[in-house]
């Protein structure tokens, strides 16, 4: 009886947004008289950081510091329509809607600044620190706060903008499946190393190395959070989780976290991640979305690593110790493959 190590890989892509499109999101952006901006959304932040990503998109587009933008979400009376937070659509769809709204608001802000500075709006630029200046003449400037005061109390302008983003709905050919499912795709490759105990059937994660291509990492810390957490979920799906352990027999369903197992701190492993950025033509600043895809490569990479370690093919998820032991027994013991 022994423990065997093995490595396996998987490479995948993932579509961004609802399949076939037809899933609009709207955003509204407005300034208060102090030059502080509010983004109004009905969209939901699930903890993935949509508020933060849309806040950065809005600040970048307006040309103001991120501290001057607050994102208000999840209210059907104040936020315009959004399909919802699913299908990896938050960054791409909502991000684009916010970008469009911020562009329109920026247009008004620059017009108002132009009126105050008595120049043409086309000759103005923002410094990203809360000022608007004449291009090539930074001393001729006005703060966004003063512009907002002038717009509200003197010029009678609303510094605000509306945005919507819609990928038009595609039809599906019934006979061939011809369709336009998505406008952009994220990519990934992951290498998993495992250790298989041929006495207990247990599979332990040793390490993971991965590369994810996401268009643009709008906030690399939030991307890291998604990829690390998503890979954990992938380990959990691969080795632990199901409410029907003997599917299709529905018996033995778990009722709580004592019976529904997931990896604990001792079951996780080092994960070294590289992020590549090939901007999507229609993504906000090129961004796609890392949300859903990050669990997907882990499951097959783990199964392939188990084969490399002990020579059995695990074709049914989750790969429980019971299944590994049964497969080893059927094979007559571990047959380690060439180390790689």
């Amino acid at each position: 009886m022994a423990k065997h190590r093995g490595r396996g890989i998987a490479s995948i892509n993932y579509p961004i947004g609802m399949n076939l499109g037809g899933d609009p999101s709207q955003a509204l952006v407005h300034s208060n008289p102090s030059g502080k901006f509010t983004v109004s959304l009905s969209s939901i932040d699930l903890g993935q950081g949509m508020k933060s990503v849309t806040r950065q998109i809005c600040a970048e587009t307006l040309g103001v510091p991120v501290e001057d933008v607050y994102v208000d979400t999840a209210d059907s009376d104040t936020g315009p329509h959004c399909m919802g937070s699913f299908a990896s659509r938050g960054t791409h769809r909502v991000g684009n809607a916010v970008m469009a709204a911020a562009k329109e608001a920026r247009g008004v802000m620059m017009e108002a600044a132009a009126e105050e500075l008595e120049v043409n709006a086309a000759d103005l630029d923002t410094d990203g620190r809360g000022n608007i200046h004449v291009k090539g003449a930074p001393h001729r400037s006005i703060s966004t706060k003063d512009v907002a005061i002038a717009a509200q109390f003197k010029q009678g302008k609303t510094i605000s903008g509306r945005g919507i983003f819609l990928v038009p709905l595609s039809e599906v050919n019934p006979e061939t499946g011809e369709m336009s499912p998505a406008t952009c795709y994220a990519h990934a490759c992951l290498v998993a190393e495992v250790e298989v105990d041929d006495e207990t059937g247990e599979v332990a994660m040793v390490r993971m190395d991965s590369a994810y291509e996401l268009g643009r990492a709008l906030n690399p810390r939030l991307v890291e959070q998604q990829l690390v957490g998503g890979a954990w979920m992938g380990i959990s799906h691969a080795l632990f989780e199901t409410p029907e352990p003997y599917y299709p027999d529905p018996a033995h369903g778990p009722r709580d976290f004592v019976e529904y197992l997931m990896p604990g701190p001792g079951d996780i492993c080092p994960h070294d991640i590289a992020v590549l950025e090939r901007p999507a033509a229609d993504g906000p600043f090129g961004a796609k979305g890392p949300g859903e895809m990050c669990a997907n490569p882990v499951m097959p990479a783990v199964a392939n690593a188990i084969f490399n370690a002990v020579g059995v093919r695990m074709d049914e998820l989750p790969i429980t110790p019971e299944k590994v032991l049964r497969a080893l027994k059927a094979q007559g013991g571990a047959r380690p493959q060439a180390r790689r």
Partner: protein, 529 residues
């Protein structure tokens, strides 16, 4: 550890940005780390009542009789809600985009189709009193044979799970029991291949396991409106679904979401809002309905199981020349969103590889289990497991390094994909190269020099002649309206009056209107042609 590889695709990006690309702290960080972020359940309203649902102990049974007499007299009970009290007690979630037929009641009426299906709801002063009253509800069931295996469910004579779809499969394009993909000629590909490998894969259901279980609180607001605090991950999706089921204009509701304690796709189904709102309408007081952990694990919809068969033809040099897939999505007793995932899965075939002949048939199958729904990677996760295990086996079969095998077959800019659109903005090859580098996995120099931006298109952009299959005759189509353009509420713009006034009159489910313009163009399914 995360490393940004700015050197790759640098010529396609403008990196001179001020806020984008920074690891700025989250806007809601302070609230999260100090425990002051607001969840739906943080709203404790005066006079709040609690709703609990009596669930079927059978996977499949006829409902003979429901006796709530004793339960109604139970201490603390304010209202028992039955299927007949739900204004439109039949819905399908994707009627929002005009896809599929209404097939799921909020509370079972004639039949239960899975173990755990809601039969009766109890509104009481406390959760305990609701449970005590629930124990006093008498339901006579007439158990029916159940089917749990997707392939068994397709056999002639299998129990009919859901009468809306009597063949136990969702209907695509009015005529097919599956969604097809046809690209080139797989049979010719298999004939030319040096090796053919056919394998079976199975993924069991998976629970979303959110820290916060599904729930909502509904309360009467001023001016005849209702405020709803909810854990939904799709606010308007849930709002519009409730407006349809309760048959009121959508602006009757003020939905407030907020911090969600984990969603992963399990909070799109609008499991609790319709009954919570109906409870508030019928009692005139706030109602809270949150799933317990066991309910969430057993009866809150999971990621559905999938069974997948893949047959591949591969050449000795490692080129895959044909890939044929048939797959079965286990939707459980009702459609929810599985029908949509099937089409997404078909669009995903044959994975991120350029294969000249691809054939796919994917089925959405009904069985007597908890309805499945969306989960992270919906329609793709199980297929990726199957495809990438298969890729490993093929590489092993032809004696090619599994990394190089993927790069060799990877799609590139300009290639034709199986759903007949040109591949653009691809980056699979670079991901494999970088992952290999990180894992210190040796690749040959010529493989390291390959690029997603080179050597695509040309012959790889063509579609080989595809055999034509007979097309079945389409039946006349009955058009179902979307949730948005459904007819105005028949009787009144006002929600049902609170007790002690009588509950709204019992109505059979409204028949699907057979005409009417749709604002939403339809995707497939019940489209009028």
């Amino acid at each position: 550890m995360l490393e940004l590889r700015k050197d790759i695709f640098a010529d396609e990006r403008d990196d001179n940005l001020k806020e984008i690309g920074k690891g700025t702290q989250r806007q809601d960080m302070l609230g999260h780390v100090t425990g002051t972020s607001t969840y739906f359940d943080d709203h404790k309203l005066q006079g709040m009542q609690h709703l609990k649902v009596l669930r079927s102990p059978y996977a499949h049974a006829r409902l003979r009789r429901i006796d709530t007499m004793e339960a109604e007299r139970s201490p603390g009970v304010r209202r028992i809600i039955r299927g007949a009290d739900v204004p439109r007690n039949l819905n399908t979630l994707l009627s929002l985009i005009n896809f599929g037929k209404d097939d799921e009641p909020s509370l079972a009426v004639d039949k239960v189709r899975y173990k755990g299906e809601p039969v009766v709801a109890v509104v009481a002063e406390s959760p305990r009193e609701a449970y005590e009253a629930m124990a006093k509800v008498r339901v006579d069931y007439d158990p029916l044979p159940a089917v749990f295996d997707v392939e068994e469910a397709l056999k002639p004579g299998a129990p009919v799970v859901n009468e809306t779809y009597p063949k136990n499969t969702f209907t695509y394009h009015d005529v097919y029991d599956h969604q097809k993909l046809r690209f080139g000629d797989v049979e010719r590909g298999f004939a030319e291949a040096d090796h053919v490998l056919e394998q079976r894969y199975q993924m069991s259901p998976i629970e979303h396991a959110p820290t916060e279980t599904n729930g909502s609180i509904a309360a009467p607001d001023t001016n005849g409106r209702y405020v709803v605090y909810t854990s939904t991950q799709a606010l308007f999706f849930s709002l519009d679904t409730c407006a349809k089921i309760l048959d009121v204009p959508s602006n009757t509701f003020h939905f407030i979401g907020g911090t969600v304690g984990g969603g992963f796709g399990g909070k799109v189904d609008t499991l609790t809002e319709p009954l919570a709102i109906l409870g508030a309408m019928l009692t005139g007081r706030p109602v809270r309905y949150q799933l317990g952990r066991e309910e969430e694990m057993q009866f809150g919809s999971p990621r559905g199981a999938e069974r997948i068969y893949i047959k591949d033809g591969v050449m000795r040099d490692g080129r895959i020349v044909a890939r044929k897939i048939h797959a079965y999505f286990d939707s459980g007793a009702y459609t929810r969103l599985s029908s949509y995932a099937v089409v997404k899965c078909v669009a995903h075939l044959p994975g991120p590889y350029t294969i000249p002949n691809v054939h796919g048939d994917v089925y959405c199958v009904f069985t007597n289990r908890t309805p499945a729904t969306a989960m992270r990677g919906f329609g793709v996760t199980a297929m990726d497991f199957a495809l990438e295990c298969q890729m490993d086996k093929l590489a092993h079969l032809v004696g090619t390094d599994p990394m190089e095998f993927r790069i060799l077959n990877a799609y590139r800019d300009g290639d034709m994909k199986a759903h007949q659109r040109e591949a653009k903005n691809t980056a699979l090859i670079e991901c494999v190269q970088v992952a290999a580098e990180k894992a210190k996995w040796p690749l040959r120099e010529e493989v390291k020099r390959m690029s997603s931006r080179k050597d695509g298109g040309g012959s790889r952009a063509t579609i080989s002649p595809t055999p034509i299959e007979p097309v079945p005759q389409r039946a006349a189509v009955s058009q179902q309206r979307t949730t948005y353009d459904r007819a105005a509420p028949a009787t009144t713009q006002q929600p049902p009056p609170p007790t002690p006034a009588p509950p709204p009159p019992t109505r059979p489910p409204a028949p699907s209107p057979s005409h009417g313009a749709t604002r939403f163009s339809s995707v497939f399914g019940t489209r009028r042609r």
